[in-house]
Symmetry: C2
Subunit: 113 residues, 2 copies
DNA sequence: AATGCTACTTCCCATTTGGATAGTGCTATC
DNA sequence: GATAGCACTATCCAAATGGGAAGTAGCATT
C-alpha cells in the first residue's frame, strides 16, 4: 500500500503513533543502549548519561507500553530487573535510517555545511 | 554510507535534527496543507482545524527556520503573505513513508488489530 | 548495629507550553 | 462613519513537563 492511497487523517494517525514512540531526548538513547544486550535499571542509569532515575523510570514504562522493550523480574535479593529490546523495537531501524539520512541532508541544507 | 558506520553520538544528532523538524501536533498538518499549493495565513488557519493564530504563527516561523517552507510578502493592501512548501520540505516524503508504515505495524502490534 | 544495594516513588519547585481573548495598523467596502 | 479583512502580536492564565533531592523495603555485608 502506498501512503497516498490512505486518506490523510488516517495516515496522520499512523505517523503520530510512530513519532510518539521515538520522540523525546531519551527513548532512542535507551533503545541504543539495549541494542548491545539486556540491562538492569542501574546499568541503564549509568550508561544513558544525564538521565535522572525519575525520567528513566517514566521512559521505560512508555517503551514497555509500546512493546519496544520487555521487563523481566528475577526473584532475588537485592531485586533484579532486566530490560530487553524486543523484535518490534528492533524493527524501528528502517525508520531510524530514514530519519538519520534526511537529518544529515537537513543539517547541510540548514546549517549550510 | 550506512548508519552503523557513523559513530553513535553523531548519528543521534542527525536523528534529533530530523525529529525536531517534524515533531509536534502541527508541523506535518501545515506541510500537508501546503502540498496542495501555496496558502495565506488565514487560509492555513482555516484549513488546519483546531490551531490557534498564535500557534500557527510560531510553527510557521519554525518551519521557515528549517527551510521547509518559504514566506513571500506581496506589496498590497490588505497585506498579502504567501507560504509555499520548499523542495527540501518535499524531500521529507521518504521519512514520512517509513514513519507511516512502521506506525501502521506498530498500531497492529500494540493495540492488537 | 550500621551501612549499602536495588529499583524505583514521592515531593517540591521552576520553567515551558498551550489556549483564550483581545488588540494593532492599514485599507476597502457598505 | 462603521464594519470587515489581513497578518499577526500581546497578555493572561492554567496545565504539563522536568530536575533535584530524598525516601522506601528488604536483604546482605562489614
Amino acid at each position: 500500500m502506498k501512503l497516498e492511497e490512505e486518506d490523510c487523517s488516517k495516515a496522520m494517525l499512523s505517523i503520530k503513533d510512530a513519532l510518539e514512540a521515538v520522540e523525546g531526548t531519551w527513548k532512542l538513547l535507551i533503545l541504543y543502549s539495549l541494542c548491545s544486550g539486556p540491562k538492569r535499571f542501574t546499568e541503564l542509569a549509568r550508561e544513558v548519561t544525564g538521565i535522572t532515575d525519575k525520567t528513566l523510570s517514566k521512559e521505560l514504562k512508555l517503551l514497555q507500553a509500546n512493546k519496544l522493550i520487555k521487563r523481566e523480574v528475577y526473584d532475588a535479593s537485592p531485586p533484579a530487573v532486566e530490560y530487553t529490546i524486543t523484535k518490534h523495537g528492533r524493527s524501528l531501524n528502517k525508520v531510524l535510517f530514514e530519519l538519520w539520512s534526511w537529518g544529515r541532508a537537513h543539517r547541510k541544507e540548514v546549517i549550510g555545511k
